[in-house]
């Protein structure tokens, strides 16, 4: 007899300006592993956050074990047996495994921690995930794989009936993934309902019983895994191509501008070689964890590189790090504008001119010269909306902040521009402006390497795509064979031709 562990009906959650989840139905049976897939921004996280009780203002019905419940706080969600494991582990590294497992409910005696009971209970939990280590070991001492299992054991300790796992394999090796799957199958047989979120389609076909696909906040399909193919899932995820949004660009290719040969950084990427020509926009396709950002940061000298050679317009980069790369015309637009992109407490003007400092200095003296006209020009060209050029960048909207970040590098007239998620979290208007600016720059002869998890953007802008998987460059795709579908399949290591 099959019973339904969880049933979410017509769930809707609105954020200011967007409908993140729109009338989604989602159900999981007892003893089932149910995969939840969709592109970034499709609504997976929001739907699961509703389940975790993070929002008090969702609409729709949630039934757990057939009884209707309200989940307006994390406490309520936990009380109904819902547990989550996250991609970034929530363990406290300096503490022991046992202390992590029983955090918040340490067994005590006479007001002190009862260490023997603590270790006994921890041992029992570790047995559930097949981990045979001393519970007194500090979490910092164990491997990623073991930490992932401890995280699962910690969730199991609260005796959940529904376990949500968000990208549990992103830090695991192939063998470790197989061991994790064996454990998940055991848990499933024990009657646990598991929601499995992953970008890795191959894993989903190995482990899941059913799959639900979300796109733009809506459910586009729910199928038994036997009924579908990876191609069908990808088609559901990407939907109809919106090619007309991207103006067709006739790229005039010039000499090789960026030449990367045998780049290796142990543990991140291995023996990566590629070239980008003047006027060319090359997309770098890969799943999160494939090593794209790491490659970009090492190529431009922000992070170390153990082997390999990078040249810009024929000049080999020596050991001068990023400032040398910038001086030679190789610049990198950071992935996260708040973490290491913008000076939020400084003015729009200062941010726009920040990267020009070495270019405008003669013998150590800064010459303001045409700073004013440069500022005016980019405010106008990129349509940056700000109270004034002297307003703090932090007061601008996300889209305008991202435009300032781009303008900071455009102002240096780079030979090679590496873009890392150039339009993450910006509105459609700003996105369009940024795309136009990037295409205009390429038309003037700059080589562009584009990293983006926004597949329509990557496919629409790129002349050519390089596919990275597990730190290696596995494929190159020409414009003709490049579509959202083929890109996503290639990133998953599947595709029509494979010449790894």
């Amino acid at each position: 007899m099959v019973t339904t562990a969880l049933s979410m009906e017509g769930i809707t959650k609105r954020f200011p300006g967007t409908l993140a989840v729109d009338g989604v139905d989602f159900s999981v049976e007892v003893g089932e592993i149910h995969a939840l897939v969709g592109e970034n921004g499709a609504g997976k996280s929001t739907l699961m956050n509703v389940l975790a009780g993070l929002f008090a203002d969702y609409s729709g019905r949630i039934l757990i074990g057939g009884r209707e419940v309200t989940l307006h706080s994390p406490t309520e969600a936990k009380a109904h047996g819902i547990e989550m494991t996250h991609q970034e582990l929530s363990l406290a590294a300096p503490l022991s495994i046992a202390e992590n497992l029983l955090a918040g409910r340490l067994p005590t005696r006479y007001g002190l921690v009862h260490r023997r009971a603590l270790h006994r209970e921890a041992k029992a939990l570790l047995a559930l995930v097949g981990l045979d280590v001393d519970p007194g070991t500090a979490v910092s001492e164990i491997s990623q794989h073991e930490a992932q299992l401890v995280e699962i054991a910690k969730a199991l300790g609260n005796k959940p009936c529904i376990l949500v796992m968000d990208e549990p394999t992103s830090a695991l090796s192939r063998e470790e993934v197989q061991r994790l799957f064996a454990i998940l199958r055991d848990l499933k047989r024990g009657g646990l309902a598991i929601v499995y979120i992953s970008h890795h389609l191959s894993e989903i076909f190995q482990i899941a019983d059913r799959v639900t696909v979300l796109r733009d906040g809506k459910r586009v399909g729910a199928h038994d895994i036997g009924e579908v193919t990876p191609q069908a899932i990808v088609r559901m995820m990407v939907g109809q191509a919106v090619d007309e949004f991207y103006a067709r660009r006739m790229a005039k290719l010039g000499d090789v501008a960026l030449d990367v040969a045998h780049a290796t950084r142990y543990g991140f990427f291995h023996d990566v070689s590629f070239q980008v020509r003047r006027g060319e926009i090359v997309g770098l396709v890969g799943l999160s964890g494939a090593g794209r950002t790491e490659l970009a940061r090492s190529v431009c000298g922000l992070d170390p590189m153990h082997h390999g050679r990078v040249s810009v317009m024929g000049n080999v980069l020596a050991t001068g790090g990023y400032p040398e790369a910038v001086a030679k015309g190789l610049v990198y637009l950071s992935e996260d504008r708040k973490v290491d992109g913008l000076f939020l407490r400084l003015s729009v003007r200062f941010n726009l001119l920040a990267a020009l400092t070495p270019f405008h200095s003669v013998a150590g003296i800064y010459r303001a010269g045409n700073d004013g006209s440069i500022t005016e020009r980019y405010l106008k060209d990129l349509d940056i909306v700000a109270a004034s050029a002297d307003a703090d960048v932090g007061t601008l909207s996300g889209g305008n902040q991202q435009k300032v970040l781009l303008a900071k590098w455009l102002a240096t007239c780079p030979r090679v521009l590496i873009l890392d998620e150039p339009t993450r979290g910006v509105d459609i208007g700003a996105k369009r402006t940024i795309h136009e600016a990037v295409m205009a720059l390429a038309d003037e002869g700059t080589a562009v390497l584009l990293i983006s998890s926004d597949l329509p953007e990557l496919v629409g802008l790129s002349e050519r795509a390089l596919v990275m998987r597990n730190g290696r460059l596995i494929r190159e795709m020409a414009k003709e064979e490049l579509s959202e579908e083929t890109a996503l399949l290639a990133a998953n290591g599947e595709g029509m031709v494979s010449n790894a």
């Binding site: 001086a327 950071s334 000076f343 939020l344 920040a354 990267a355 400092t357 200095s361 002297d390």
Partner: protein, 324 residues
């Protein structure tokens, strides 16, 4: 709507001079002798040492390292070395004194700039170590120069007492350092990069700034200024000893912060710092007129510091919690 950054800057500078003006009025009420050229000259002379130290400390705060707490050690060390080297002649003694202080600055710069140590804790440790080192090396003794007329020692003692026209040399040096400091902060690549590093170190790195070098040079500047002050202080006291310089660390940071340089870095102006130095000088002078003892004056200085930092934090929050 947030006011523009430029307007805020102007306000900070005007603000500190307005406070200075109020203090002058207060001083006139306290004593008829307050508003005399002599008294102003004595105020300037009294704050000149602090001003010299603050002109270097301002760069530390501006570039986001908050404070160099090894400043008292640098002052004492350069003073001792200068006095000890006097038999080699005055120019050599002054150069060696300066180099001794700079050596500590180099060490600070490498450890904080390149090795990324916490600037407060590291410079605190250096101050602790240097005090022990100086007490050990010179067995707790004060070092007196030979002050026979015509010797380098006599010339050394005269240094502090020299006048350039109507102004004491030390006041001229202070003003010169502020002019140089202002030019450096406002007009050089290094000044701009210090501002970027002070505002957001990670973003400065991804903007192509050599962050380590910028931090290093800022510590070198602070040590340079502190060494000059240390040599003048030794000349004033006619001796070199490990404790000369004590208290200048905190008072310099207070002057810098009163002058409108944000403790969180990246905001401020040398003109404001000079104003901060003057405010502290006026405050001390008035308290002396009122007969308040030195220890009680410390209480007031401390309270002013707390009030100003509190105000800065409040304004940062008002400007926007999400990105402050």
């Amino acid at each position: 709507m947030p006011r523009s950054a430029a307007a805020l800057h102007t306000l900070d500078i005007i603000g500190v001079y307005a406070v200075a003006g109020l203090l002058i009025i207060l001083g006139m009420l306290v004593s008829p002798d307050f508003l005399t050229a002599d008294n102003f000259l004595s105020i300037l002379s009294a704050v000149a040492l602090l001003g010299i130290v603050a002109s270097g400390m301002a760069f530390i705060t501006y570039s986001g390292s908050m404070a160099d707490l090894s400043v008292p050690a640098i002052m004492a060390f350069s003073g001792i070395i200068a006095v000890a080297a006097l038999p080699l002649g005055l120019p050599v003694a002054l150069a060696l004194g300066l180099l001794a202080g700079l050596a500590i600055g180099v060490m600070n710069g490498v450890v904080v700039g390149v090795l990324n140590a916490n600037p407060i804790l590291w410079t605190l440790a250096v101050a602790f170590f240097m005090e022990g080192f100086m007490r050990f090396t010179w067995s707790n003794n004060q070092l007196y120069p030979d002050t026979e007329p015509g010797t380098p020692g006599a010339a050394f003692i005269e240094l502090f007492r020299t006048r350039v026209g109507a102004l004491p040399l030390i006041v001229v040096v202070m003003f010169a350092l502020f002019v140089l400091g202002h030019a450096t902060m406002a007009w050089t690549r290094f000044g701009r990069e210090s501002r970027l590093v002070g505002s957001h170190r990670a973003a400065a790195r991804t903007s192509g700034v050599r962050v380590s070098r910028v931090v290093f040079l800022n510590f070198l500047l602070a040590a340079f200024a502190a060494s000059i002050a240390g040599i003048f202080l030794a000349s004033m006291n006619k001796l070199g000893v490990f404790y000369l310089g004590q208290g200048y660390d905190f008072r310099a940071v207070t002057a810098v912060v009163i002058g409108g340089v944000m403790l969180s870095g990246g905001r401020g102006h040398m003109a404001g710092v000079l104003g901060g130095v003057l405010v502290i000088g006026l405050l001390t002078n008035i308290m002396t007129f009122l007969g308040i003892t030195a220890f009680r004056q410390n209480i007031v200085t401390g309270m002013v510091f707390i009030a100003v930092v509190g105000l800065q934090q409040y304004r940062l929050r008002a400007r926007g919690r999400d990105y402050a």
